[in-house]
């Protein structure tokens, strides 16, 4: 009997939460936004979500076979990537583009860089940007279920057609043109708060990101300084989706508290600059991806000092 005693390093007990539980929480947190998307944009939005998620899981499954890695679809991370990607699609996106996007996200951006925890760009966002560049028309056409197409709130703003702009309430609830999952600030906030309460994410990044965009647009987006409509900028477009769900992605953002704040502020400045000073109406995806690239650098310069210790020269 004695030779059967198992010997391993302490600690000998573990918390219950595993990777799958965390991914499941993210999925749960995205349910309200998905439901609102389907409510406003109709059953086609639901189909887009299902097709994209299935394609992402299939891509993960195939990638494991091709790359001879351990099968990881069980950890649900591919579902999260697929869902996030779908929520970043316009409801009218052709299904084949959605499928191509899922494969780009999983195979190219995630698995080729070593799989979960290793990729340096957010798979869903990187895929979205690649699709935007490749099929700009299909990726930015906003059609309501009744066939009427319209401009997103940020495009309206860009063109200076403020008379047509939706009110704050519509923006808050999500009754405006936009990507499936980005329009309803209310639903996204519910999900975001859920993640914070469950300690899946911290408040640092979302607060820093949204706060910076608010401050920046308040100062610079108006006719004169300090007159910008910051609330419109916060509620319109993909800011809340990006700040709570993409800029908090574990693999591609800094680990330390200080790092997260720097990351959030950087995202906020970049997103605002893109929105205000380039031809693009929306800058959240680009901003996050650019900051993803800077993550390693930020991590390197934010090594915390030990308890009671002096600051380490970086």
């Amino acid at each position: 009997m004695e030779n059967n005693l198992h010997v391993s390093s302490s600690p000998h007990i573990r918390a219950e939460t595993n990777t799958r539980d965390i991914m499941l929480d993210v999925i749960i947190a995205l349910v309200p936004a998905s439901v609102m998307g389907v409510y406003f944009f109709g059953y086609r939005a639901l189909l887009v979500i299902l097709v994209t998620v299935l394609a992402a899981v299939l891509a993960e499954y195939l990638a494991a076979i091709v790359l001879k890695r351990k099968q990881t679809i069980g950890d649900l991370s591919a579902v999260v990537t697929g869902l996030l990607l779908a929520l970043n699609f316009p409801p009218s996106i052709p299904f084949w583009i959605a499928i191509v996007g899922a494969f780009i996200a999983i195979m190219l951006v995630k698995q080729l860089f070593g799989g979960i925890g290793q990729n340096f760009m957010n798979p869903a966002l990187a895929a979205r940007v690649i699709l935007l560049i490749s099929w700009p028309v299909q990726m930015t056409r906003w059609v309501w279920p009744d066939g009427v197409s319209s401009a997103t709130p940020l495009v309206i703003l860009k063109r200076g057609l403020m008379a047509q702009a939706p009110g704050y309430l519509d923006l808050f609830l999500g009754n405006v043109a936009g990507c499936i999952g980005e329009t309803s600030a209310a639903a996204l906030l519910i999900g975001g708060i859920y993640l914070v309460v469950k300690k899946v994410i911290g408040m640092e990044t979302p607060l820093a990101f949204i706060g910076t965009v608010g401050l920046f647009t308040w100062i610079f987006a108006g006719g004169s300084l300090f007159t910008g409509d910051f609330l419109y900028h916060i509620l319109a477009g993909g800011l809340i989706l990006g700040a709570f769900f993409m800029a908090t992605d574990y693999s591609t953002t800094p680990v330390t508290r200080r790092g997260k704040i720097i990351f959030g502020i950087g995202c906020g400045i970049l997103a605002s600059v893109i929105r205000l000073y380039t031809d693009y109406p929306e800058g959240v995806s680009f901003a996050i991806i650019l900051m993803n690239v800077a993550t390693q650098l930020i991590d390197r310069f934010t090594v915390p000092r030990s308890f009671g210790g002096e600051k380490n020269a970086a």
Binding site: M1, E2, N4, L5, H6, V7, S8, S9, S10, P11, H12, I13, R14, A15, T17, N18, T19, D21, I22, T72, D75, S77, G115, I116, G117, Q118, Y250, S251, V255, T256, V303, P304, R305, S306, F307, G308, G309, E310, N312
Partner: protein
């Protein structure tokens, strides 16, 4: 209002204090005891007895010339049956004296209450008692109580936090031997010359808190403070911070911030020893875990085999998968039930497979839970990687040596990565590199 200061990080662990209301039972004299010559941190002792020699209870059987060491005594009367080396769980071989007990428990003539009239005599007495830190670290007590002159000690902290799951042996010491504890505190404060005493205890032990408060009420300078229940509240640095607001810098000792920390069972032992002169030959041990038939608190003679201890507690109800000496967060998994109870053993846990099996490791997802849980503010995910690829620069950069091996990081890792194991590996790599650098240095004989 009293605000509970605490460290950042740490984890909420399940308490499992199943044995807290179980009175300590004495295990009888075993047939033989196995007494290793190292039961403390520091230099090992050399046996002072020979095979075949008769010994008595309390007789010195091992000493060391080194300052950082503690003598070892026989816990039984009988005959030395064997002196050989025993392998420790960490891979070291340690000289070990095996004594066949005669069951008479004749007490050695040297065992008598020490005469203490001043600090020197007191330190000498503590040294002769064989006392080591009973909280699990096993640091010789006389060394701790005798800091260099230039350290200004103003506070004695009594560690009664007992933050590890399952363990209730300190709690039972408080409930059963509070008078000894108070006598021990009196002696230490009198001879060492500290006036300020703080007893720190987690707030999940209200009965012990009110008992200690009652006893301390009549005395000057003894403060009983309830601490937030959060692991690792009993870790020395975290405890000192919670009670005094002082931070012990990395690589420094409590005395560098004017503090001496003693475990509550240690101080209770001092109180008893001054009265009866019986050296450290027995220990209260919590016996628990999913495979144990009758979870208990037992008083075992040092050197009692683990199998004897578990037998006393009704044996196993299922096949034990893992045996741990100490708590589940920092304890050491044992290879064999022939291992003995040691001076610093505070718990013996036996887990069945369902409870003791750690799920398989998956890839790090960079979630940062290990970093958030680390009370020392380290980044275990980076140390893990650095240790596995032997990246020495990164091991230094991420302050590997500052880790207190509390286990919070690995406990909270959703990928179940054995982070503490790789951090220990990293420490070994650093120590090896330092030893090598030192050797190179002395060989080159360059200016210092």
């Amino acid at each position: 209002m009293f605000v509970k200061k605490s460290f950042s990080g740490g984890v909420e662990v399940p308490h499992f204090k199943n044995t807290e209301n179980i009175q300590t039972e004495k295990i009888g004299v075993p047939d033989e005891v196995i007494i290793p010559m190292q039961q403390h941190s520091g230099a090992p002792c050399k046996p002072t007895v020979k095979e075949g020699e008769p010994v008595k209870v309390g007789q010195v059987i091992g000493i060391s010339e080194s300052f950082i060491s503690a003598p070892i005594h026989s816990s039984v009367s009988g005959t030395v049956a064997d002196i050989s080396s025993m392998i420790f769980p960490d891979g070291r071989y340690v000289a070990t004296v095996v004594i066949k007990a005669d069951g008479k428990q004749d007490i050695h003539e040297d065992v008598k209450p020490p005469i203490c009239t001043n600090k020197e005599e007191f330190i000498e007495a503590v040294k002769n008692s064989g006392l080591v830190g009973l909280g699990g670290a096993g640091f010789p007590a006389h060394v701790k109580l005798n800091p260099p002159k230039d350290k200004n000690i103003d506070t004695l902290i009594i560690n009664a936090a007992e933050c590890e799951p399952f363990i209730t042996s300190d709690y039972r010491e408080i409930m059963e031997n509070s008078a000894d504890i108070m006598d021990g505190i009196d002696a230490v404060t009198k001879f060492i010359g500290v006036s300020n005493v703080i007893i720190g205890i987690e707030d999940n032990k209200p009965e012990a808190i009110s008992l200690l408060k009652k006893l301390a009420a009549g005395k000057k300078g003894i403060d009983v403070k309830a601490l937030r229940t959060r692991y690792p509240q009993g870790a020395e640095k975290m405890l000192i911070y919670a009670l005094t607001g002082r931070k012990v810098p990395p690589g420094k000792l409590p005395m560098d911030v004017g503090v001496i920390v003693m475990n509550i069972t240690s101080v209770g032992f001092v109180g008893r020893y001054l009265k009866d002169g019986m050296p450290l030959i027995k220990k209260r041990v919590t016996v628990d875990g999913s495979a144990v038939n009758r979870p208990s608190n037992v008083e075992a003679l040092i050197g009692t085999k683990l199998s004897d201890v578990f037998d006393f507690c009704g044996g196993f109800k299922t096949e034990p998968f893992k045996i741990i000496m100490g708590g589940p967060m920092m304890g050491i998994a044992q290879y064999t039930l022939d291992a003995p109870v040691m001076k610093y053993t505070n718990a013996l846990l036996a887990f069945d497979k369902t409870f003791g099996n750690v799920p398989p490791e998956t890839a790090c997802i960079r979630c940062g839970r290990c970093y958030r849980a680390c009370p020392v503010n380290l980044m275990p995910l980076h140390i893990n990687r650095a240790a596995l690829v032997e990246d020495m620069d990164a091991l230094h950069k991420y302050h590997t040596m500052d880790c207190i091996e509390c286990g919070c990081c690995a406990y909270s890792c959703p990928a179940r990565i054995p982070l503490v194991q790789s951090i220990r590996l990293g420490k070994t790599l650093i120590k090896k590199a330092q030893a090598k650098a030192k050797k190179d240095e002395s060989q080159k004989d360059v200016k210092s």
